[in-house]
């Protein structure tokens, strides 16, 4: 039975069919890749570049990065501390969700972009302590509105850096290339 299928596939019509099927599969895959690389829709088109241009430090809004695993989102109160003094906030369409949040007490629902899978235990603190800057991983925020990952954050990318930084230091190498450093 299976032999008949393969015989049919070897004749010209079969080859065309295989070609079409392959093309369909390929374009589906290409679309799949394109689709999953799109940054997600955010409730507010948050202009990072504007805030950075005002001279606000990353750690002002994301202070957790210095202390532990999660850099954290700024609280509504922190946004409001500045924005309530800015007249445009009340009228801006862009900022309507923030105003709404302050009025109703319902938090803004952000969508995190720089994510690692559940089985990776990532900690910001040692990276900052090792002298890395935010833009080393997250890209140049002076040019971004809503955040986009500058590269695919996968294990190869992590390990490349770990290897570079630990080269020549056997103790550090053991630590930084150990599976148990990130996976448990």
């Amino acid at each position: 039975m299976i032999k008949r299928i393969f015989d049919w596939l070897r004749q010209p019509l079969g080859l065309v069919a295989v070609g079409i099927a392959f093309l369909a599969l390929f374009s589906l895959a290409a679309y799949g890749i394109y689709y999953t690389q799109q940054p997600p829709a955010q409730p507010i088109q948050f202009p990072h570049k504007t805030h950075v241009a005002f001279g606000i430090q990353c750690l002002y809004c994301h202070p957790g990065a210095e202390r532990g695993p999660s850099p954290g989102l700024p609280s509504t109160a922190k946004c409001w501390a500045c924005h309530q003094q800015i007249a445009k906030t009340q009228t801006s369409l862009l900022l309507a969700p923030l105003v709404e949040s302050v009025r109703t007490g319902v938090p803004v629902q952000w969508v995190p972009v720089a994510q690692v899978p559940d089985f990776v235990q990532y900690n910001h603190r040692p990276h900052i302590a090792a002298g890395l800057n935010c833009e080393d991983c997250h890209g140049d925020l002076t040019k971004m509105t809503i955040y986009e990952n500058p590269q695919v954050m996968n294990m190869g990318w992590c390990l490349n850096c770990h290897k570079e930084k630990s080269a020549g230091n056997p103790e550090l190498e053991t630590k930084l290339l150990d599976c148990g450093t990130c996976h448990y």
Partner: protein, 252 residues
């Protein structure tokens, strides 16, 4: 080109007789079998409960279990001292060389047996090769709240520092490696070494009888080294050459 450093090393990297890094001492004379360690471990490590039927098939997922055996017959019957059995974090672990995708690997940095969940494909070779029967397998999606709506509320309790495992993955005791990392991270940020007794595993922290002690076995000053050095200590199935890191104290 494939060079040697791309191939993960298999098995222990220290010779027989050498010490590992982290170790545990369990005093069987003090253990009352009360299950506080089991509950504490499960709460700390997001261990799934499997329900009556699956636990009847031996699929329960305790990372630590308390063994007890009977000796003699009534009225001269005696229960052996309770023996909490968890991953012995072998220096020469039988589970490691048999894992096809290298999910069971030895941590060179912490000298522990790791189970890398994202690598595990569920061959269960490691569990079959483990003489202590301490590896447990996720036979079903016990943690998927789409399959069990009860988990929608219960999952609020999950420890964010520990991966929630899914179906088809082998898992086991990690010596609470998340606590090890947290303590090391804290110590490093304060520019010091981790002190003995500064942190401990969930089981040792809960144990009402203080029967479990955890610490650095490579530090002769640590409490765990001193307890292990008493002459009433023994290790489980040591004769297999597994170099277990858990010492059991027997008798009084």
């Amino acid at each position: 080109m494939m060079n040697k450093s791309n191939i993960p090393e298999v098995g222990a990297n220290f010779a027989e007789g050498e010490q590992g890094k982290w170790g545990m001492v369990i005093d069987r004379d003090l253990c009352t079998g009360c299950q506080a360690c089991v509950a504490a471990c499960s709460m700390e490590n997001n261990v799934a409960f499997v329900g009556e039927e699956d636990s009847g098939y031996g699929r329960s997922m305790h990372w630590i279990r308390i063994e007890r055996f009977w000796e003699g017959e009534y009225p001269e019957v005696k229960m052996t001292s309770q023996q909490p059995v968890l991953c012995q974090q072998c220096g020469h672990a039988p589970c490691e060389p048999v894992c096809p995708p290298f999910a069971a690997v030895h941590s060179q940095a912490e000298q522990l047996n790791l189970q890398v969940y994202n690598r595990c494909v569920g061959t269960r070779y490691c569990a079959n090769n483990c003489p202590y029967q301490v590896r447990v397998f996720n036979w079903r999606d016990y943690t998927d709240d789409r399959l069990d709506p009860a988990l929608v509320t219960l999952k609020n309790q999950y420890n964010p520092d520990v991966t929630v495992r899914r179906r088809g993955v082998m898992e086991k005791c990690t010596f609470c490696i998340q606590r090890i990392h947290k303590a090391q991270d804290k110590a490093k940020s304060e520019g010091r070494e981790v002190a003995d007794g500064e942190f401990t595993t969930a089981c040792a922290q809960a144990c009402p009888a203080n029967a479990i002690t955890f610490g650095r076995v490579d530090n002769p000053e640590s409490l765990v080294s001193q307890l292990a050095g008493q002459n009433r200590g023994s290790k489980l199935l040591e004769e297999l050459g597994t170099l277990p890191q858990v010492t059991y104290l027997n008798g009084g």
